[in-house]
Structures are given as structure tokens and as C-alpha cells.
């Protein structure tokens, strides 16, 4: 088959019907452009919301869960070994919140090639006192450098600097807490631990994560200060947070660490299952809208080609009479459709990119997301590949039926009908 000739004929047919061709192509352009824009925007939104979650949640958290012993004393008994045992009123075992042997675990984890970094943390529930008010909350003793590296915590410090925590007895408190207690940077806040010890700390900064629940109760201090407040030694660590290079492997690694260190672990996916659902639903919505737009564009192409066939009946008849086979004619019309689809699609990608760029610079400021200044957009080559493949498929399918019809045109009927 002579594709050069077939393409040449297709081009000439298109040229003769330039206006309609452009309208058909614009349909595809519009569909693809909207698809790209939507999916990039949704992708950006997903990434932003995921970021919101991931910036607070480590990929893997190692900690001691409050739970009963898995092996109760009765199970050690030889006598009742083969019996079914019922034990009532089991209480959780107090193993303390401290991770046992934390220093060596951290050391091993830090050498693991799959791990970006390890951030040890001490959390304790405390009471904040200012004047006569007491508000319950939490104090997080953090390793400033590691915490900032893994969770970009400095993004959320609205006043002061994270490095200021290096001073003895300093604290950064959530904005909700500061507002309630009328405290600002430089003031002193008193903290009562569950043991009843009272410690005054100097406020060196205010943090705002954007979630009131957290901002109302959270405070940050250095590991050393936290340990001191609690009256614990330097090895006292309640959480070991780990971020991975490949976060998808979190589930597996969490299991591995649980076995290796004999400690409770939780991965971020298990901890935040509802976020995944939201992302999936948003993706489904944007894909369906894109596909619907393309189907509409496909109908446009179908119409134009059908019309073209009726207009060009004579041409089809003479092509067949002079030696073009049915399949040649079919390919002429399929090429027509592909030309419309690809031109429309490529322009669609271009416009999609331009629209994405426009959305990307539209200001979007919200107090809950201090780091986000404009609407989020993701630029992903995969979206563009999907877009062009979609355009290609829809136009081929839309062109196929008219093309088959054209290939079945009986030249005798046309020529004798004159």
C-alpha cells in the first residue's frame, strides 16, 4: 500500500474542507487541554494534601504500643499446653513508653541505605499553665536538624526559628495555644508533667500547622529539654521516626523493623488510610471528566467524516474505479481522522500546559496552608502521554466507522446514478 499517496489524498480532502476540519480538531484540542489541566490540577491538589499528611507523618514510626503481653504466663505451662485457654480481665503491661535500647536502634537505622534519615522524638502529655489557666496538651522533644530535614517543620514556624530551640528550656508553642493563653514570643510558659513536676520554659517561637486540633495542643522543644522536664535520662526516646527514599516500601519495611528490633511499628499508609481514598476518588473524577470530553470530541470527528464521505462520494467512486481498493479508501479516511486527532491532540497538550501554567500562578492563600501561595499544579509527562494516547484512540475509533462505510461505497451505484 502506498501510504505516501494515501496521506497526500487525505491532506487534499482536508484542505478542501478546512473550516470543518479545524472545528473538529478544536473539539479534540479542547478535550485534551481540559483533561491535561484538570488532571494536573487534581494531581497538584493530591500532592498538596498528601504533603500535608506526609509532612506530619513519618513513613515508618517505631514506638511502644500500650498493649497486653502476647504470651501470658499460662501459655508457658506444660500441663495445659494442648488446652484451649480463656483468660479474663487481662490488663496491658506497663513497659513504659520509652523505646528500649533506642540508641543502638537509631545507630543501626542511620546506617541503612534505604533510609533518608532518622528523627528520634520524645512525646509527653503535659499541662500548660499561664496564670490561673491550665490547658492540657503535648510537648514534643525533637531533634531539630533531623525533624526539619524529614518534616520541613520550619515551614510551619510563623514566629521565631527552629534553631532557637537549641537554647536551654526554650519552647515553640502552637498558635491556638498562644492565642488562648495570650502568650507571645518571649513570654514564659509553665509546664506540668504527669509526675507533677513544674518547669518554666521560654517561648522562642509560634508554630501554625493549619489544623486547629493540633495547633491548640502542640508544643515543640529540644530532645534534651523534654528529657529534663520528664526527669528522664538521655536515652529516653518514645518515638523513632523514619523516612524512606522509596516510601512505597514503607509497609514491608515496617514489618521488617518490627521483627528485627522487636518493637511496634506503623507505616504512613496504615496510619492515614483515608487520605489515599480521597486521592483515588479525585483522580477518578478527573479521568472521567477528561474521557467524557474526549468522547464528545470523538462524536465531532465522526460527524465531520460522515459528512465528508457524503460530499466526496464521487471522489471515492472514481478512486475505486481507477484502482484504489476498499482498504485504500478506508486508510484515506482513517488517516483523515488521525490527522485531525493528532493535530488537535498536540495543540491540546500545548494549551493544557498553558492553562496549567496560568492556574499555577493564580494566588491561593489560606491560613491552613502557610506554605502554599498559588494553586498547586503537577507537571507530569505521564499525563501528557496519556492525553495524546487518548486523543489518538478516540479519533481512530471515531474515524473507523465512517472509514469502513467509505470502503464499502459501490462505485457502480454512484457512477450509474448520475
Amino acid at each position: 500500500m502506498n501510504f505516501k499517496l494515501i496521506l497526500n489524498i487525505a491532506f487534499h480532502l482536508l484542505k478542501a474542507r478546512l473550516k470543518q476540519t479545524i472545528v473538529a480538531a478544536v473539539g479534540v484540542t479542547f478535550g485534551i487541554a481540559m483533561f491535561i489541566t484538570l488532571i494536573s490540577f487534581m494531581g497538584g491538589l493530591n500532592e498538596m494534601l498528601d504533603g500535608l499528611m506526609l509532612n506530619r507523618t513519618p513513613h515508618i514510626l517505631l514506638y511502644n504500643e500500650v498493649k497486653p503481653s502476647e504470651n501470658q504466663p499460662l501459655s508457658l505451662s506444660e500441663e495445659y499446653k494442648n488446652h484451649t485457654k480463656f483468660i479474663h480481665s487481662i490488663k496491658p503491661k506497663d513497659r513504659g513508653k520509652s523505646v528500649y535500647n533506642s540508641q543502638s536502634i537509631i545507630k543501626v537505622l542511620k546506617q541503612d541505605k534505604r533510609i533518608i534519615d532518622v528523627a528520634p522524638k520524645v512525646t509527653a502529655s503535659v499541662l500548660f499553665n499561664s496564670g490561673t489557666i491550665e490547658i492540657s496538651g503535648f510537648v514534643n522533644g525533637i531533634d531539630m536538624l533531623a525533624e526539619d530535614k524529614l518534616f520541613k517543620i520550619s515551614d510551619y514556624i510563623t514566629e521565631g526559628k527552629i534553631a532557637d530551640l537549641a537554647q536551654n528550656n526554650s519552647v515553640i508553642i502552637g498558635i491556638g495555644l498562644a492565642n488562648k493563653m495570650l502568650l507571645s514570643k518571649g513570654d514564659i510558659i509553665k509546664i506540668t508533667t504527669s509526675n507533677g513536676d513544674l518547669t518554666p520554659l521560654k517561648i522562642v517561637g509560634i508554630s501554625e500547622i493549619g489544623i486547629a486540633e493540633i495547633d491548640n495542643v502542640m508544643s515543640y522543644t529540644s530532645l534534651a529539654t523534654a528529657q529534663k522536664i520528664l526527669g528522664q535520662p538521655k536515652s529516653y526516646i518514645t518515638d523513632i521516626q523514619v523516612n524512606l527514599y522509596d516510601k512505597e516500601s514503607a509497609v514491608e519495611l515496617a514489618k521488617e523493623f518490627r521483627k528485627e528490633f522487636n518493637i511496634d511499628t506503623i507505616d504512613y499508609q496504615t496510619a492515614n488510610a483515608q487520605f489515599e481514598t480521597g486521592s483515588t476518588v479525585r483522580s477518578i473524577i478527573s479521568y472521567s471528566v477528561g474521557i467524557v470530553l474526549l468522547i464528545v470530541a470523538g462524536f465531532g470527528i465522526y460527524n465531520i467524516l460522515n459528512m465528508m464521505i457524503y460530499e466526496k462520494m464521487d471522489s471515492i467512486a472514481i478512486l475505486k474505479a481507477t484502482g484504489f481498493s476498499g482498504s485504500d479508501v478506508k486508510w484515506i479516511f482513517i488517516s483523515l481522522s488521525i490527522i485531525i486527532g493528532l493535530t488537535g491532540g498536540i495543540f491540546g497538550l500545548l494549551f493544557g500546559f498553558i492553562f496549567s501554567n496560568i492556574i499555577d500562578v493564580i494566588p491561593f492563600e489560606t491560613t491552613s496552608l502557610p506554605t502554599v501561595k498559588t494553586y498547586p499544579i503537577v507537571y507530569n509527562i505521564i499525563y501528557y502521554i496519556i492525553g495524546i494516547v487518548f486523543a489518538f484512540c478516540t479519533t481512530i475509533i471515531a474515524g473507523l466507522f465512517p472509514a469502513l462505510k467509505a470502503s464499502k461505497v459501490d462505485p457502480v451505484e454512484i457512477i450509474r446514478g448520475k
Binding site: N2, L5, H12, L13, K15, A16, D314, S315, A317, I318, L319, K320, A321, T322, G323, F324, S325, G326, S327, D328, D410, P411, V412, I415, R416, K418
Partner: protein, 227 residues
């Protein structure tokens, strides 16, 4: 050999129309056309002469009997195969010119040749120009079809029919749409092709005058050849 001289041969060619009732249009036609003949099929309207031509053209495949072109059995061949035969061995001139309005005259003439692919584009262009010159149309080569008169269009259609050096040129009322002067002009071209180039030509016409001036007249009536 006498056998090899036959361009077209039919054995017991029959065709039926089924709408509105079953009706036999062509009845057991045995026909052969030799190389170099200028043949006219003549007959009244409804005698089946056009139907016969379209059967011989290979475009209509719904028939009984056998059709040989250049001693090759054509009956039962596939669409692509038949298209190839039409492309390489048959040139068509219809009542209407059927030029592609999107192409200029030269390109219209070249199109079947481009499909054949026997000659390069350059050679084809030269050949097309030669044919146009023979028909006195070389000055119009770069015009679009809608800039030409009816007679001129028909001459371009003849040039297109000639481009692949066909075994036979088939014409369905090729002068039917033309006035007397242009009709004569087209007839003279056919005559010249037959005489000077020994071109086999088969023309369907209801114009007795036209038919009389050819080498051989086949008269049809009620789907049969009567003389």
C-alpha cells in the same frame, strides 16, 4: 496466437436485479473483444448495455458466468486484486468527468499512475504532460478542474484513462454530456487513439451516429447481444 489476442472474453455472463422483483438484465452473454478493436455497444435504454459494461469493468462482481481479462479469469477475485486489475489494465471515461476537485489537472491525470507505482513521480509527470499534449490540453495542466469547460474536463478524463497504458479503455456514454462540437472532438480523440496507437476501446452509447463510426458495433436488446 489467436488466444492471446483477446483482451476481454466472457462465457455465459448473466446478471439479475432483485429489486423490486427478480429480473434477468444480462442473459448468457458470450463476448470477446480483440486487441486493437474500437467497439461500440449500442442499444436502447434498458437493454442492459451499461450493466454489461460495468460487469466487464470488474466493478460489479454480482454476476453468473465467467469473465476473462487478458486470458486471466477475473471472476471470483478479491476486492484488492480487482482494484489492481482496474488500475493497471483498464482506463475509464464516464459520462461525467469525475475529476478530483482538490487536485489540479496534471495531478488528476497522474493519480492512477501514482497508485500503480510503476514509474517515478518525475517520469509520470512527463508522461501525463505527453498525454495532455496529445489531447491538446497541455496548456491547462496546472489549472484546477472547475476552471475548465465540459469538453476540456472530458479530455482530461481521457488523459487520466491513458496514464497506465491500459489494455482497454472503457467508456460509458463519454460524449453524453457534451454538445455536438465537443462530442465530435472526443470521438475524434478515440478514433485517433484506436488508429495511431492501436488502443483497444469499448464504448457504450445510445448515439447511433457515434456507434456507426466505430470498427465494430455490438447491439443489445433485452439483455442479449443480437448482432
Amino acid at each position: 496466437m489467436e488466444e492471446n489476442n483477446k483482451v476481454i472474453e466472457t462465457i455465459g455472463l448473466s446478471k439479475y436485479f432483485y429489486d423490486p422483483i427478480k429480473f434477468q438484465v444480462i442473459k448468457e452473454v458470450d463476448l470477446s473483444i480483440n486487441h486493437g478493436e474500437f467497439v461500440a455497444i449500442e442499444g436502447k435504454s434498458g437493454s442492459g448495455k451499461s450493466t454489461l459494461l460495468y460487469l466487464l469493468s470488474t466493478m460489479d462482481t454480482d454476476y453468473e458466468g465467467q469473465l476473462f481479462i487478458h486470458n486471466e479469469l477475473v471472476t471470483g477475485q478479491g476486492d484488492a486484486q480487482l482494484a489492481k486489475i482496474r488500475n493497471e489494465k483498464i482506463g475509464f471515461v464516464f459520462q461525467f468527468h469525475y475529476l478530483l476537485l482538490e487536485y489540479n489537472v496534471l495531478k488528476n491525470v497522474m493519480l492512477p499512475g501514482l497508485k500503480f507505482g510503476k514509474y517515478s513521480e518525475k517520469e509520470l509527470e512527463q508522461r501525463a504532460m505527453d498525454h495532455l499534449k496529445t489531447l491538446g490540453m497541455d496548456t491547462h495542466a496546472l489549472k484546477m478542474p472547475n476552471q475548465l469547460s465540459g469538453g476540456e474536463k472530458q479530455r482530461v478524463a481521457i488523459a487520466r484513462a491513458l496514464i497506465n497504458d491500459p489494455l482497454i479503455i472503457m467508456g460509458d456514454e463519454p460524449t453524453g454530456n457534451l454538445d455536438k462540437k465537443n462530442g465530435d472532438l472526443v470521438f475524434d480523440i478515440f478514433k485517433k487513439l484506436a488508429k495511431e496507437f492501436n488502443q483497444t476501446i469499448l464504448v457504450v452509447t445510445h448515439d447511433i451516429d457515434f456507434a456507426k463510426r466505430t470498427d465494430r458495433i455490438i447491439t443489445m436488446e433485452d439483455g442479449r447481444i443480437i448482432s
